[in-house]
């Protein structure tokens, strides 16, 4: 087999208000494995170069800041941001590093590094939609990358890969789509999520769907039946978990008998009601969310 090699694509990863769960999730990628991603190719002929990644790079401190600066000089990199961006008090709630006595916030780094990126990937629900970090009452003014882009008129292409955590295939699969098919051909939904992974509701592919259709609902955890009455948010959640499964296809949320809590949705975690209570006041399946109504109900309880 002859493979034409293209120049390596530089990847810069920066972290805002995160829990590092997006990293530990992607660290469990199977195909490609992290070993192959680091040392070989993402797919034969296409190499990623991890120019800056706080969890795996050798260097710390000043040298790490210089590495970031130099990596950003080579335009056209992939910028991956996980965690939300706190915008209150000029971003003081997340300081990522310091050089020559000057402190840098994740807000500044996002604004600076986004400009010369080929694509910005907001990894995880915090970076995509604010998520847990922006949970009510959101005192740090935590925002999604998209909101920061709108507020600062940044036009760099953005893809959201939500999930708490995101599945590793959603990230690396999307990068593979970009490298092989071109960025312009990646189909996104209204929330900038790749349709390949977020095009269908959990409900549409759920193995418990037959139970739902025949009205057989579990009354308590552990019962046979659809988990709708126990709070499953599958009917309003876009993700391919039922088909893809998690962690080497060993299991997934509904597969282990627990209700989906809609972690890929913009409304997660505040505006969907209690995790173990039936979805209220939402159309099933729902394309139009009544998030505002939900919010009022939730806050007024």
């Amino acid at each position: 087999m002859d493979i034409k090699k293209s120049a390596p694509i530089s990847v810069i990863s920066i972290q805002g208000q995160n829990c590092t769960g997006c990293v530990t999730s992607t660290l469990c990628s199977e195909y490609p494995s992290i070993e192959n991603l680091l040392l070989r190719d993402i797919i034969p002929g296409h190499k990623l170069e991890f120019a800056f990644h706080p969890n795996i790079m050798t260097a710390s401190g000043k040298l790490a800041m210089e590495i970031l600066e130099n990596a950003a000089k080579k335009k056209g990199y992939v910028l991956i941001i996980d965690g939300a961006i706190p915008t209150a008090s000029n971003g003081v709630y997340c300081i990522t590093g310091e050089k020559d006595g000057r402190k840098y916030t994740i807000l500044e780094e996002t604004l600076k590094l986004s400009l010369d990126a080929m694509i910005v990937i907001a990894l995880g629900t915090c970076a995509s939609f604010g998520g847990i970090a922006a949970g009510n009452p959101n005192p740090t003014g935590a925002q999604s990358v998209g909101d920061v882009f709108s507020a600062n008129d940044i036009k760099t292409p953005l893809i959201n890969i939500p999930g708490c955590p995101p599945h590793p295939d959603w990230l690396f699969g999307t990068i593979e789509e970009i490298l092989t098919g071109g960025l312009e051909n990646v189909q996104l939904d209204d929330f900038k999520r790749p349709k390949t992974y977020f095009g269908k509701l959990i409900h549409e592919n759920c193995p418990n769907r037959a139970y739902f259709d025949e009205g057989k609902f579990a009354k308590k955890l552990g019962d046979e039946g659809c988990l709708y009455e126990l709070g499953c948010k599958g009917p309003i959640t876009y993700a391919d978990c039922p088909k893809r499964l998690w962690n080497g296809r060993t299991n997934w949320v509904i597969g282990c008998g627990a209700p989906c809590n809609s972690c890929t949705s913009p409304e997660y975690p505040d505006f969907l009601g209690d995790f173990y209570e039936r979805i209220i006041d939402l159309e099933v399946p729902a394309n139009k969310r009544k998030a505002k109504i939900q919010e009022n109900k939730f806050l007024g309880r």
Binding site: G21, P54, P137, P139, N247, G255, C256, G257, N261
Partner: protein
Amino acid sequence: MKKIVIHPITRIEGHLKVEAIVDNGQVKDANISGTMFRGIEIMLKGRDPRDSVMITQRICGVCPEPHAIASVSAVDDYAGLTDKIPKNGILMRNLILGTRSIADHILHFYILSGLDYIDPVKVLEYEGGNRNLNALKYFLQQGYSRPFLPRDDIDYKFDAKTTNTIVGHYIKALDIYRKSQQAATIFGGKWPHDAAIVAGGVTEKLTADKITEFIWRLEEILDFVKNCYLPDAIAVAKTYSEYLEIGRGCGNLLAYDSYRIKSNGNYNDTLLKGGLVDNIDKYSEIDINKITEDVTHSWYEDSEPLHPGSGETEPAPEKEAGYSWIKSPRYNGKVYETGPVADVLSTYFGKQDPYIINAVNSALSEIGTDISGMYSVAGRHLGRALSTEIMADQLLKWARELKAGEATAVEYIPPSEGKGIGLCSAPRGALGHWLNVKDGRIYNYQVITPTAWNASPKDKDGQPGPYEQALIGLEIKESSRPIEILRVIRSFDPCTACAVHMVTPKRDTIARYKIV
């Protein structure tokens, strides 16, 4: 006098900064600073108590499972379910926590700390058939080097042969990490952030094939722990033997009871025995009512040190005396370190378990040190490896006790009011969750994490936290590349997202958080 600032500290969880004042090559003072503020507890107010198990896992994506266990224990406690959890439920929770902790320790030793001791570039001299090493060699030969280079040149001490063995384990560790998480997911549902852990037990139904699959997956992990990880941790202690003296810290340890096991027919005993170990080897029982949190040098409005679950905290990012978002937990006003060394030694002295005494003593005699060697940089790596080995042996035993087809959970019928406490051993040490429920909703929720104990700033009496104490007195060879500081800090396995999880309510303009 010279000030050394390291920010960011990479290869840890989260955002951390170190400032050290160095005079004549020796650290005179150190300030540890958590530089990211987010928050979880306030979000829980008003929610269904069961939701805390899902939400608090999101405090940390490196170690979510202990938050799930501490939180579910607090909810079980409040709901009066602790003694009703079916045997399968107890065992599966142990298996999820234990397997994921093993994964976490392996990740820490190789991926996070490894590059402080081994030089992957030496693989260029490698002549052999190991596929992983040859992939790395070819990678370097082609001129690639990120994320391993650029780096500061430091004193790598292993010879080429040992280096290549450990570098091979570094690459293999990525595979074992993935496989460990897969094994635990058989019971937990998903990594990270398990979905199957719920008040009353675990939702996953047990079948013989799942138990079999878990046991065989575990086999490969155990092999790696015994034949790679533990020997490599011992090799670091022997080769970098000066690090058995360096980074001693406060010399006092604190641990909580963890992993319920059977004794006289019920599950009221625990594998790991909590307690306090003062001045290297003086064991005593712990009274959690003596825990307080001090905010003298934290970016919060001043108040007296308070017990978790009482008091008021208001963030003050401009506070003059503040230098960290982390608070200072203290026990009876004293500084305590927590972590795997605390778990192992508290059980060693408090329970006198012959198996654990033997495991610790044989490793220490192989290295040629005694118990006091555990209080050091190399000792912390060893303690982590020993707790991994102890856990690995238990997991197989627990997996064999599972009964396919039998109940894994009991029904959750919540009282409208009540309080609950959940304590457990997280990979980084003692983790506590405090829950207070009124009218069926969460009224107050409080978490004290291991890294808050360890990375805490100075308190009102000027006592530095454990990281800071471990740095004070440290000899620095070259202030432009202070690898000594990084080795000390990483030996604690920092998890700063865990340490700083407080948040303030919006109420539109007023930022005020009241903990009642």
